[in-house]
């Protein structure tokens, strides 16, 4: 179901369409909000985003980009949410606080391509495809770490390599994923995948 036709239906009060939109975008927007805050808060933020969308459903633009609208709304809601709770945030250090503050400038969805690309409806497929492109050893370690939630120590033991080698593999996997996402290879792959 394409998102824009869902929007036309939500505009006229179709709760089912709203439910579908929520199911598609909730996990994506929650991961996006988790760039700024912890999990429970991110879930609150996303609930607020959808609550507002429903409240103002008549003003929705069925022709516009719903993806852009939802990211922007999550971004704004996150800023408001954190400013209300700034006393409850515990930073490990002043430096960490500063690093987290810069994140707000950097992750503005209207200026950050990579955010728009990763935190999209295709989040899962994009990552899946990008991981398939990694060199075998690198992919093996990356999958053990991310999918099986294994500790680096465990992975090192299982594969008979050092912990720092494991860390290097994971880090270089991240770097490669970044290159792939940046160069739009993924978009082409996805495009081809539609015809396979």
């Amino acid at each position: 179901m394409d998102a824009n036709s869902l929007i036309s239906r939500i505009k006229v009060g179709d709760r089912k369409a709203f439910g579908s939109l929520f199911r598609i975008y909730r996990p994506i927007l929650t991961s996006y909000a988790m760039l700024f805050m912890k999990n429970e808060w991110a879930e609150d933020v996303v609930q607020d985003v959808f609550f507002n969308l429903w409240q103002h459903r008549e003003n929705l633009d069925a022709e516009g980009s719903i993806h852009g609208y939802l990211l922007r709304s999550t971004y704004n809601t996150s800023i408001n949410y954190l400013s209300k709770r700034k006393h409850d945030i515990k930073y490990r250090s002043w430096y960490q606080q500063r690093i987290d503050e810069i994140a707000f400038d950097v992750y503005d969805p209207s200026t950050n391509d990579i955010i728009r690309k990763i935190y999209s409806e295709d989040l899962h497929r994009q990552i899946e495809h990008a991981i398939l492109q990694l060199p075998p050893k690198c992919r093996e370690v990356f999958c053990m770490s991310y999918i099986d939630d294994m500790q680096n120590k465990q992975i090192a033991k299982m594969l008979g390599i050092s912990v720092s080698t494991v860390e290097n593999h994971i880090y270089s996997a991240l770097k490669r994923l970044r290159e792939m996402l940046k160069d739009n290879h993924i978009a082409i792959l996805l495009f081809l995948a539609e015809f396979l």
């Binding site: 996990p27 912890k38 429970e40 006393h87 409850d88 690093i99 990552i127 991240l174 970044r178």
Partner: protein, 303 residues
């Protein structure tokens, strides 16, 4: 720049020194900045892709199921515990009285001071909760914390004081220290102001012993501790408006209060060689402070 530090940072396990070097690196060029935050965004997306976790682990429960199952387990195990407790009560010749637990929750925006049955103080942060029995049993004093609190524990070498958290246990004899351990958080910490504390993993194995002005930062992803330098008095003052004084004489305490409150207290003390630990909230009234000081020192204090 050792870039493997980034991963450590994403997992919340870096020290302040490491965070400092990351920040310097980020701020040194736009490319660096872009690289760091891109990597963070990708790491976060992979980490939190719910479909991936569910799909990649067939046979394993997905997150939401696991969550539900664990709640269910709690019900089952508490039901079993009740049954067992009932049986024990039934068969025991002299059934012991079950402990009455009191939970203090701080719903306000201010720090709340809670007095425990042994006269120890707990300064509770907003949205935090501490549970303790109505009366401590002999030979052990244990409380449970979810959230963050500063503890000022009365010394009793016969009866160790234990703080249980979702992640670890902290055991002391008599000290002041801060514990931050909120359920679901990515990291937790114990910061020691005076005395000494031992931190145990929840399985009972001993992990870390701290000396004053050290902080043990616990990463929930690795289950490990990292000990860093800290300034506990400053932390208590900034975060709790709590003035902490260790190993000080009565005249030192009075001088501090006189300066802070702009008053002229004096004490007719027999000797000024005794040393105290004295902590108080900046918002305390001067009358309360005088009362507490008189009880603590046994000296008469005049305004």
């Amino acid at each position: 720049m050792d870039e493997s530090l980034f991963l450590k940072y994403f997992k919340g396990a870096t020290t302040a020194e490491e965070e400092k070097s990351i920040l310097q690196w980020i701020e040194s060029s736009d490319d660096n900045r872009k690289e760091f935050y891109d990597l963070k965004a990708i790491w976060n997306a992979v980490q939190n892709d719910p479909e991936r976790k569910a799909a990649a682990a067939p046979g394993k429960m997905s997150w939401s199921h696991k969550h539900r199952a664990s709640r269910w387990m709690v019900w089952v195990s508490s039901a079993a515990a009740c049954l067992l407790a009932g049986l024990v009560l039934f068969f025991a010749l002299r059934p012991s009285v079950p402990e009455n637990l009191i939970t203090y929750v701080n719903p306000s925006k201010e720090v709340l001071e809670v007095k425990l049955p042994d006269n120890s103080s707990v300064f509770l942060k907003p949205d935090s909760r501490v549970t303790c029995p109505e009366e401590f049993r002999k030979k052990s004093r244990s409380v449970t914390l979810d959230g963050e609190a500063f503890f000022d524990v009365v010394h009793d070498s016969e009866s160790p004081f234990t703080v249980s958290t979702p992640f670890f246990k902290v055991r002391v004899l008599g000290t002041s220290f801060n514990v931050m351990a909120t359920k679901g958080a990515n990291f937790a910490s114990v910061m020691l102001q005076s005395g000494s504390v031992k931190i145990f993993q929840n399985d009972g194995s001993e992990s870390v012993t701290l000396v004053p002005d050290e902080e043990a930062v616990y990463s929930t992803s690795t289950g490990g501790f990292q000990v860093v330098k800290a300034n506990a008095s400053y932390y208590a003052l900034v975060n709790y408006s709590l003035v902490t004084m260790n190993n000080v004489t009565l005249s030192e305490i009075i001088n501090k209060i006189n300066v802070m409150y702009g008053v002229h207290l004096s004490a007719d003390m027999a000797d000024d060689n005794r040393h105290f630990n004295f902590n108080f909230l900046k918002s305390s009234s001067i009358d309360d402070l005088i009362k507490i000081l008189e009880i603590l020192t046994g000296d008469k204090i005049t305004y």
